[in-house]
Symmetry: C2
Subunit: 339 residues, 2 copies
């Protein structure tokens, strides 16, 4: 089959590799119908040391079940399914506590930008979709694999509700879907911090009431000005850089929550009196996307929300290297792939 | 009146200073019946630069209302009252959101080790006690001013409940009362990390099911061993040193909460993938003690709990310098003062 491999920073290739096969009785093989490039794929695209062994890429996909291990229940060949970006048994104590990224039999996918994928813990990972391969809903359904559930996680962890004011830091796909999620959870005031007008326009469509293009101290001052000097109860941080964390500390209201879903690209940060004295909470992490699919799917199927609007370019598998480049240059917000 | 002043590290003096007077119509003057020395008073006792101007000390007190400003409602001269360690109007938006340490008209006391004290925002800060000056409950009632409410805050912020396993780091008064609070909130497994047997024995009396005397990596290994390798859902950090924060990171379960009530003696700490990847939450801060007094008072009055057991020495105002020394040398857990 054809698959995407990264050989180092900036070096993305399409290659012919062996088809995956069932290894465990709990596995499935899925033929990928839609996959995409994630903002988090850009971190290795910037940093990966060059190597002669390529690394398969991609963790978001929906597709058709081609083969099933003997112990997989609840699925059959031909089912159209969406997967969570992390696989899990969905039965262990961590899964039941909604910390599925820490599942006792779990792990992260990194083989989804391909024609086929082996899915461990298929029964706990794949969710059957009640639509066909030609459904116009596929882009929105694909966001359930990661970016929508991840934006929703930011909002849930920050306990966003109708009484909460919200700042979202980052106008990437996750940030924009954090806006959408905050709106779904009832927030009436949602300030989006982002610099790219096409993206922040989509953010307004998703529910942002204010857009702050400034960053750093200037951005902090702007958000404070919009909130009577106090900042917002919830800050959903969907970037992952230290500057975004510092911005979050600057715009959060006393007693408020900084909820991170951007993978932190730093090891240490300010957690002293500036955080403690104001009773701030820092939370977040890899989303239990599998748990959220059940909650988010109905509104997607009904067309009440259209998270798939974050995709603004569609490419074939052969064009994926161009897709990475376009996202890296901010020419594309999020690239959909039809293998 | 006589009052305690600190002139630098280790330099605590008893001095004659002018009596406080009403300054605002919202003030009260209280004659102090009981005050005490706090673990957090030991930080300046170690670090305060020497100065010719002494600094008044103390933030925990109960006493009798001597004088009232014209706008103070709900209190009268002669009332026996307990104060929260921070004063607040108890009506502003932050107070209503239970972030009373960030009250718009609030501040922290530092004049309680004395014969008299001026109490700003008296109506929002003082709570009338239905007992007399000679009540044997006074030590327990005094803990409502800070250490009991602070231990309770740690447990509340960590959402301790009957399904939560708990580790408490620190066997000072706050740590021991965090144990008591976790027990009151229904926790069935409470591991206390502390090295002083007399204190950890009191911790067992308050509800600790296990005691781990080891610290650092060894202590972490011990707690993990006690919890099937996973750590506990809640970690209540009642120390404030970096070593305690690192210990907290080591013993917290994936998806769990580190709730700090020890004032952090550091500015930066690990908040990278090690925290994010495990969906950990970091929370805590100065407790909204005023809000908790209403919740905690009934069980103290009924004698159902005896948080006052943390006091193991009683001194006069003149003996307060000895009291600091005894707490610093771990000869006393917490020193009660009868001015």
């Amino acid at each position: 089959m054809r698959a995407i491999l990264m050989y180092g920073a900036g070096d993305v290739r399409v290659e012919e590799i062996p088809d995956p096969v069932l290894q465990q009785p709990t596995d499935a093989i899925v033929r990928i119908v839609r996959t995409c490039v994630c903002g988090s794929d850009l971190h290795p695209y910037h940093n990966m040391p060059a190597s002669e062994d390529g690394t398969q890429m991609g963790h978001e996909f929906l597709g058709v079940v081609e083969d099933l291990g003997s112990e997989v229940t609840g699925l059959k060949r031909g089912d159209l399914v969406v997967a969570s970006f992390a696989f899990q048994d969905n039965t262990c104590d961590f899964c039941r506590e909604d910390v599925q990224a820490s599942c006792r039999h779990g792990g992260f996918f990194s083989q989804a930008q391909a024609e086929l994928i082996r899915v461990p813990q298929a029964a706990g990972t794949l969710v059957k979709l009640p639509v066909g391969e030609d459904s116009p809903l596929l882009p929105s359904l694909l966001t359930l694999a990661d970016v929508y559930g991840t934006g929703y996680h930011a909002a849930k962890r920050a306990d966003v509700n109708p009484r909460t004011t919200v700042t979202v830091i980052g106008d990437g796909a996750v940030g924009l879907l954090a806006v959408l999620s905050a709106k779904q959870l009832g927030a009436e005031r949602i300030i989006l911090m982002g610099r790219y007008k096409a993206r922040t326009d989509l953010g307004r469509e998703f529910g942002a009431t204010d857009v702050v293009a400034e960053r750093g101290e200037e951005g902090i001052a702007k958000v404070r000005e919009l909130t009577g000097g106090d900042g917002t109860h919830a800050v959903l941080e969907a970037v992952g850089y230290m500057q975004a964390y510092e911005q979050a500390l600057g715009v959060v209201r006393a007693g408020g929550v900084i909820s991170r879903v951007g993978v932190p690209q730093y090891e240490e940060g300010a957690i002293g009196w500036g955080m403690f004295g104001r009773n701030l909470t820092l939370t977040g992490g890899p989303a239990p996307v599998r748990a959220y699919i059940d909650q988010l799917l109905p509104d997607v199927l009904d067309g009440k929300v259209e998270p798939g609007k974050v995709f603004d370019r569609t490419v074939s598998l052969d064009e994926v290297p161009d897709g990475y480049r376009a996202m890296d240059r901010r020419e594309a917000l999020k690239v959909l792939v039809r293998p």
